[in-house]
């Protein structure tokens, strides 16, 4: 049975998530499965999926309902956490909440679970106001996630709260099932003047195939600051489709850094929607992959109000037979005068079989704007390599040094030192060098 049919029939067989059939959420889920049933998985015929084919990934016979607890200990997976610092933690194992790996809180803020937010009456208003409100309901993968709404992280930061430590969201898959499909759904609401830092990671612990179709909705209210880090360094059997939707209010700042260093197929759909004036959005990413890996960054910044800014900077280094895709879309609507939108995508191809497809796209309907995009594809500078080698630096290190320098712009803006150090280590490991210092 094809995955699509399996998903649709299992939705009707189990009514998806076991929610009360009379709740409004149930209607949203029913509508979503209908939409997914109609549209199906995206194919290469769709413009947005021109360079990324899901065919191979969808062939697996995924288990949709993994069995209970796996008894994972913190020490087994500690290295996947940013464990050097104190943090709130929400951890999921095979799609289920794992209390022994987590450190949640209800003290002045809510760092808890989607399932409890859905079931507890005190969160009803928040769910009604925010759930599925910014996600693109027309998108078939998002609809599929919505239909199977069950678990995920729920973070609610009240007005004026500066969260004292970062929040880590981790999704582990243990490989207990021969093949597993996960669909976490996260909702993050950041109140006026509140400030939060979030680190998200998906990690597979064995080589059994995993497909994750994740949806995260983030709401940044007035003057809120949201700082979000996505660390993608998964096993080569794991594929990830990450759909993130961010809605921003006046004077808010949202930063999303995506580090794509692993995985089989990774697709990041990162969407920013501006709901008021004087706000800014920052999207940055580093992609370093090799082998037959595939990373696709699809970004959208929708400038709908005047006096807003957006900054995009994506760097990619592609080795071996890997494929990179970048599709950055900036829309400046008619009312969005005085918009400043910048987009930059630089790529290095290391090997003959590596491919990069990039499409920095601008759609502009307002005249008093400053919009630019730049895009380059090239290789390491021979002269620079020669310079370093003539000073006694071996070729491998010299190359790594240049690649570090190339990616450094993005790394510089990481605000949590421990995250920066971790990414540095991951990059060094990826490049197979030890430079003896951190940049």
């Amino acid at each position: 049975m094809e995955l699509k049919d399996k998903l649709v029939s299992s939705f009707f067989a189990y009514e998806g998530n076991g929610l009360d059939v009379h709740s409004p959420i149930h209607d949203i889920c029913s509508d979503a499965i209908k939409k997914f049933d109609k549209k199906g998985f995206p194919t290469k015929k769709e413009e947005a999926w021109k360079y990324t084919s899901l065919n191979a990934v969808l062939k697996q016979n995924y288990n949709l309902y993994p069995k209970g607890d796996t008894g994972l200990e913190f020490k087994d997976v500690m290295r996947y956490f940013i464990h050097e610092i104190d943090s709130y933690k929400i951890a999921f194992v095979d799609g289920r909440y794992s209390s022994n790996l987590s450190a949640t809180s209800h003290d002045g803020l809510d760092v808890c679970l989607m399932s409890s937010a859905l079931s507890k009456p005190k969160y009803r208003i928040i769910i009604e106001n925010y759930f599925n409100k910014v996600a693109n309901t027309e998108d078939s993968l998002t609809a599929l996630n919505t239909a199977f709404l069950k678990e995920g992280a729920f973070i609610n930061i009240p007005k004026g709260k500066v969260v004292d430590k970062p929040i880590q969201i981790l999704h582990f898959s243990t490989g207990k099932e021969p093949a597993l499909m996960l669909q976490p759904r996260n909702l993050i609401v950041v109140g006026e003047n509140a400030h939060v830092q979030i680190i998200e990671r998906h990690q597979s612990l064995t080589d059994n195939p995993v497909l994750t179709n994740s949806v995260t909705e983030i709401f940044a209210n007035k003057q809120a600051i949201v700082d979000y880090y996505k660390i993608q360094n998964d096993k080569q059997s794991a594929s990830l489709i990450d759909n993130t939707y961010i809605s921003q209010k006046r004077n808010s700042h949202a930063f999303v850094h995506t580090f794509s260093l692993g995985g089989n197929l990774t697709r990041n759909n990162l969407n920013f929607y501006h709901k008021d004036e004087h706000l800014d959005s920052t999207l940055k990413g580093i992609t370093i992959i090799g082998d037959k890996q595939h990373v696709d960054h699809h970004t959208l910044v929708n400038h709908a109000y005047p006096n807003c800014e957006s900054h995009q900077d994506y760097k990619g280094i592609f080795g071996d037979r890997s494929t990179g895709v970048f599709n950055g879309k900036v829309i400046v609507e008619k009312e969005a005068q005085k918009t400043n939108a910048f987009q930059q995508n630089n790529n290095i191809l290391l090997d003959d079989k590596a491919t990069i497809n990039t499409k920095p796209q601008l759609e502009i309907f307002a005249d008093d704007v400053k919009c630019s995009h730049g895009c380059t594809v090239g290789q390491l500078d021979e002269d620079a390599l020669f310079y370093l080698r003539s000073r006694g630096i071996p070729a491998k290190e010299a190359k790594a040094l240049l690649m570090y320098a190339f990616a450094n712009n993005v790394l510089e803006s990481v605000k949590i030192p421990e995250v920066k150090a971790r990414i540095n280590k991951l990059i060094a490991k990826k490049l197979g060098v030890n430079l003896g210092f951190e940049l």
Binding site: L349, D352, T355, I356, P360, Q361, D367, C371, G374, V377
Partner: protein
């Protein structure tokens, strides 16, 4: 008193399409609709050989299976392909031997357009092939060119007189089944220009084709084939106009360029089809497939100034097949009122050390939408490919849009590709600077737009550059945002 923005706007709005007149020439038009019989009838009418007829029919059968593309960033009412007459020729008795025999009214048309064939012949030294309602009516300077061995004639003539060349090259760059409109064109093209430059010959003058749609309810489907043999050079010019009409006219042309080893082709277009009224009524649908093939060390350079057409859908492309070949694309696209343009280029790097340059300038005013859509593709065997792309957009007023869709696909690590794009408006400080020095706003805008487009205008042959500059002014004056 200065020239106020209001006045400017008014003047711009009331600026009529200068070339909108209808020539009353008796013409020979086919019944509307399209089927295999019509295709065969066109071929018969043109007294074409059997292979050509079959080639057309093959294209038609392919076309029937195809669906109209919808991916372009334009919205329009799709033309009803069964409601178009696929053949319209100015009625002719015999072949003209000299210009004197041409219908005087037709000549008058050209005079109105400022293209007096006679005069142009003497003064400008440009050899022109005039295609009216898809049939070539006059080719000038044929003799002078023949001395050099250059063949410059209508394509129907070429099919009869140089079948070996046509047979070898037609459809070799744009296959019949390439796309919906190319297939349609292949089936029903009624005429067009053919040009062959022999080995090592440098064409002594600019060759030029002039297109005009005259008859109502007809489509124009011309086909141009330019072959530059080894080591030759040719500069080719193409101009277009159409009378003002309420209904939309369809123009689906195919241009194929073949540059053999060491040859160079420079192809310039000034497209000024009727853009539709200021309320967006009428105008020409311009769905054109243009592609050039470069062999070793060859160079193809496309230059286009697009000011007309209600809908433009056009991507002059270069297939850089040979090593060291060069492709260039210089474009100015101006849209005003309700015009929509989706234009750009494709540079396909196949050979080693291939280079391409793309300079695109988009200017949108009124309620128009202007898109750049380009593809730079470097295949895995194209070592040391180099591309530089720059697309700048200028917006005038906040009812128009400027869009950029660059596709970059690199499969070789030695490729060096740069792309940059900017969008801006005419700065108030720039205008103020001019005003301060006694240049009125209208002139200042012309000056700034001219400067904005300079890189492309510079690439046009002299005669065209003047016309293009004038066209820019007509299309844009006073649209200050």
């Amino acid at each position: 008193m200065g020239y106020t923005e209001e006045e400017l706007k008014k003047e711009l709005e009331t600026k009529e399409y200068e070339y909108g007149f209808y020539t009353d020439i008796e013409s020979d038009t086919f019944p509307v609709g399209l089927n295999e019989d019509i295709v065969r009838a066109i071929s018969r009418k043109k007294e074409e050989p059997e292979w050509m007829t079959e080639w057309r029919v093959e294209a038609f059968r392919a076309w029937e299976q195809m669906i109209e593309p919808e991916w372009a960033n334009v919205t329009y009412k799709k033309p009803d392909f069964q409601n178009i007459s696929y053949y319209s020729a100015p009625k002719k008795k015999d072949k003209y031997n000299s210009l004197d025999e041409v219908d005087p009214e037709l000549l008058e048309t050209f005079n109105k357009l400022g293209i007096s064939l006679d005069e142009q012949k003497k003064l400008a030294g440009v050899a022109i092939d005039v295609v009216m309602d898809s049939v070539s009516v006059a080719t000038t300077f044929k003799k002078t060119l023949a001395e050099k061995g250059i063949i410059f004639c209508s394509i129907s003539e070429a099919i009869k007189e140089h079948p070996e060349l046509v047979k070898k090259y037609i459809g070799s760059v744009v296959p019949q089944k390439d796309n919906f409109y190319a297939a349609l064109n292949s089936a029903v093209f009624s005429d067009g220009s053919f040009c062959y430059i022999p080995k090592g010959v440098r064409c002594p003058m600019e060759l030029s084709t002039y297109f005009r749609i005259n008859e109502a309810g007809t489509g124009q489907f011309e086909r141009t084939l330019v072959i530059a043999d080894k080591g030759s050079y040719v500069s080719y010019l193409e101009g277009c106009t159409a009378p003002m009409r309420d209904e939309n006219q369809l123009h689906a042309a195919v241009v194929e360029l073949i540059a053999l080893d060491d040859a160079e082709i420079k192809y310039s277009t000034v497209q000024n089809w009727f853009p539709g009224g200021k309320d967006g009524k009428g105008g020409v649908y311009n769905f054109v497939t243009k592609r050039g093939l470069c062999e070793t060390n060859a160079k193809i350079s496309w230059t286009q100034v697009e000011t007309g057409s209600a809908i433009t859908w056009k991507y002059p492309s270069c297939v850089l097949k040979g090593d060291n070949s060069v492709g260039e694309f210089y474009s100015i696209a101006v849209t005003n009122n309700y015009q929509q343009a989706d234009t750009g280029t494709k540079m396909i790097h196949l050979g080693k050390n291939t280079k391409s340059t793309i300079i695109s300038k988009g200017i949108s005013a009124g309620k128009s939408q202007n898109s750049y859509r380009g593809l730079v593709q470097v295949n895995s065997r194209a070592e040391n490919a180099r591309n530089f792309s720059q697309c700048d957009s200028l917006l005038m007023g906040n009812n128009c849009g400027a869009h950029t869709f660059p596709y970059i696909e690199a499969k070789n690590k030695t490729a060096q590709i740069e792309h940059e794009a900017t969008t801006s408006k005419i700065g108030e400080d720039q205008i103020f600077y001019c005003n301060q020095r006694g240049i009125d706003t209208e002139k200042a805008i012309a000056l700034i737009v001219n400067g904005f487009s300079k890189e492309v205008l510079n690439k046009l042959p002299m005669e065209f550059a003047v016309e293009a500059q004038k066209l820019l002014e007509i299309s844009l004056e006073g649209s200050v945002g």
